[in-house]
Symmetry: C2
Subunit: 474 residues, 2 copies
């Protein structure tokens, strides 16, 4: 049943249909709201009497009265005394209601083979195991843990993580000073804010390094100062010269150069932190995947009162889980937990239960061992493909993780290589995106950061073959 | 096998045991790390030769050599040229390694019956349904969505939420301007930061209101100004007088007074926002649970370009899920999504899939209907118990949600009532905890905010009976 109804404005079509699943009242309310919002019913316009509208639509008068009362309660309609119901003045259409939705992302060329660094093998996510762990979590979680939880995180998971990090990362982990977070990006925000609360104003970062660090620091109210990375890791002399009292590092596998922090540098860093009363924020990036030896223990284990250790399951399981941890120096843990409470009142409890289950049962270890083998094969495929198709290219940073740095022949134009490869549907990433120096001061040779974690050996080989002439500087 | 070994420091006990599940090398490494960290092996101290230690422990020399190399790579040990291996200078024990862990919470008396507001019935969480939805999510999620996702949230969930909010909340919801977040607290942070980015400096808040709002605003770099709430909701005249260009409201069921925002106030608010180019942040608190009529549609539907709608599953499913949504005015959505990206790079994908499944299948609606009935029974139990045991108490704010405000007889000392009740294991919450005025300016009568969502009818009745003499002003 529908009516065409001409008020002072444009013709209005109201439709209700007994064959649709929604109740008639809901249909009529929706139609009126929509008409008011879209401006088809203008502010001040008088509505038909409930009796007239009910008759025209073939519905009960009570239904129309309820409808009008509802929309009046919501502020769409006004009824003053015994006079007619009118469209409220406030219910004007939004200015840009008709504009198309904002583009959510810029246009991008289609990518066939994507060497994006930092993405693990997404197809290896242990769906069945995780699903089972979640099922157990849903079954076993006590009801009183389904409310607003401990901002530090679930105590059981913190115990399990602390034990795991002591065993596998050589960390001096104490569950009381472990805070569960939503992955690395959040962990970093919480720590930077807690440091800002302690009076820190400047944080030193690695250069080249993660380009997001500048905006992450700014959001926490901090400035950054860039410290160069050489083949032994961050330059500790240059760090000391900055006067900064906090530094953000990726010791296990520097992002992006792939360098492992050298033993002497580790000691120099700790000595610096102790002498300056400074804090080292250790991003335990790629720590789980080391090929030539056992993973090097975390810096945190050397000086737990000076080092914050940030870790996550983004590389070990999947980024989409958004779960991580922060081992805090005792003085900092309350501040970090306070920031976590402000940020989101604590991480989801069922996911925390599932992770505790996975680690405790040994599946997490087994999965890591399995992935280490898998990444070793992909790493070999990259070395092999580069050796075969582009032997001029020097590869570095392969001791750990799942990205490497390819140094292109002298004189190669990094940006031109990236753009030409993109036209062949191969996504490459130049190191210049990681350089914090102003472009005019850069004299860095052309280098590519090649992520191979989420590519099959065949895709790696095909991808390198497809752009080999570009890599050779051709 | 173990050795007692006396260096220049205290006697050292190193133990390895072939019957333990960990490999011998891991045991020895762990024991050495622990001894260095605890100061039992002091900086500079010389370690036994690998040959001697291997002999004493009954392990291969290679194992000890590997162990030393690992700890050297980690910075615990130093080996210079051909000389002996020593404990590194940097590896000093943390200053407060021996101090007990910080207390995580202050001492609290045991609580038998807790009238804490804002907690839903945790025992009604649909474990089985949610578990099934998660299982389907684990099975169905495409691998490429397991990486770093869209900071706006999963597009499918945003479509489902927008349709749901249009249908159930009368919202003018557009998936393109919907951002998924980790519950209300995070949503508010993201919005306040985005508003600060637009030049907003002061946000008006309801008084009484959530005491967390002051610190939430401060974290986003904003000041707050308190606006009184009367029996029709927030005082719009007082709001206009503040000069603020943003206001944070709970129109559906004011927290804590329980007032529903009156139609005239709704229109005055929209008129104010349009005239001042201001933003209304609508916390859709308790909106799902209305007892005397259908839920009143969201203010957002009246003016989607002026109102941000914040909602979550904390009241409808469980706070522990940490899932919510933000309907943004089009101009604000990119800024909110940018803040979400900085905060945690997007919410967990599997949880988003599960929520989309629950809403799409109709289980979410059915659960809400079921809970509305359940809360109506608890609400009746509260009214009944107060009527029976403390008829002097006036109850307000019962039109929606699962908390009410009990006004105590004149002259009652609110704090004394709360403290005396606590000694009887009944947790009550006075309105004074929600007042933003300085204490010396408060002339508010004694009121209690009684949450009944997470209490059985019997517990409600028993709780009120146990403190009835206190409520009667006795």
């Amino acid at each position: 049943m529908s009516i065409k109804w001409t008020g002072s404005g444009p013709e209005l079509l109201l439709r209700v249909d007994r064959n649709r699943p929604e109740p008639l009242r809901e249909q009529l309310e929706g139609a009126l709201r929509e008409s008011i919002r879209a401006g088809r019913l203008a502010a001040g316009e008088r509505l038909p009497s409930s009796r007239a509208l009910a008759r025209d639509l073939g519905v009960s008068r009570g239904l129309v009265t309820e409808c009008y009362a509802q929309l009046q309660a919501e502020g769409y309609l006004v009824t003053r005394g015994g006079s007619a119901t009118r469209v409220a003045a406030a219910a004007r259409p939004p200015v840009d209601a008709q504009s198309p939705p904002a583009a959510l992302a810029g246009p991008t060329a289609p990518v066939g083979i994507d060497f994006r660094p930092g993405v693990p093998d997404l197809s290896s996510f242990p769906r069945e195991r995780w699903s089972r762990a979640l099922r157990r979590a849903c079954r076993d979680v006590p009801s009183d843990l389904l409310g607003y939880g401990d901002p530090y995180g679930d105590p059981m998971l913190r115990d399990v993580l602390a034990a795991y990090l002591r065993r596998v990362r050589g960390a001096a982990a104490d569950a009381a000073h472990t805070v569960v977070c939503a992955g690395y990006a959040q962990g970093l925000q919480l720590v930077l804010r807690a440091l800002a609360g302690e009076g820190v104003r400047v944080v030193a970062v690695e250069n080249p390094g993660d380009p997001d660090h500048r905006v992450a620091a700014a959001t926490a109210g901090l400035d950054i100062v860039a410290v160069p990375v050489d083949e032994h890791g961050v330059d500790t002399g240059a760090l000391a010269a900055t006067g900064a009292r906090a530094v953000l590092l990726t010791p296990a596998h520097q992002s992006p150069t792939g360098v492992v922090l050298a033993p002497g540098r580790r000691q120099a860093l700790i000595a610096w932190a102790v002498a300056r009363d400074a804090t080292i924020v250790e991003d335990d990036y790629d720590a789980e995947f080391r090929y030539d030896r056992e993973p090097v223990g975390a810096l945190q284990g050397l000086a737990p009162d000076r080092v914050v250790l940030l870790g996550s399951v983004s590389k070990s399981l999947a980024p989409a889980l958004r779960l991580g941890w922060i081992l805090c120096p005792p003085r900092l843990s309350a501040g970090v937990a306070r920031q976590k409470r402000l940020a989101d009142r604590g991480s989801p409890v069922l996911d925390q239960f599932a992770l505790a289950d996975l680690v405790r049962s040994g599946h997490y270890d087994r999965h890591l061992r399995h992935m280490r083998t898998r990444y070793a094969v992909r790493r070999a495929a990259l070395v092999d493909a580069l050796g075969r198709y582009a032997p001029e290219v020097e590869v570095r940073g392969l001791a750990a993780g799942f990205h490497a740095v390819a140094q292109l022949p002298p004189g190669t134009d990094e940006r031109a290589v990236v753009e030409a490869a993109r036209r062949r549907s191969v996504a490459l990433y130049g190191i210049s995106g990681y350089l914090l120096d102003p472009p005019e001061r850069r004299a860095s040779p052309a280098r590519l950061v090649l992520g191979f974690g989420n590519l099959t050996p065949d895709a790696i080989s095909d991808g390198i073959a497809a752009v080999a002439d570009l890599l050779r500087g051709g």
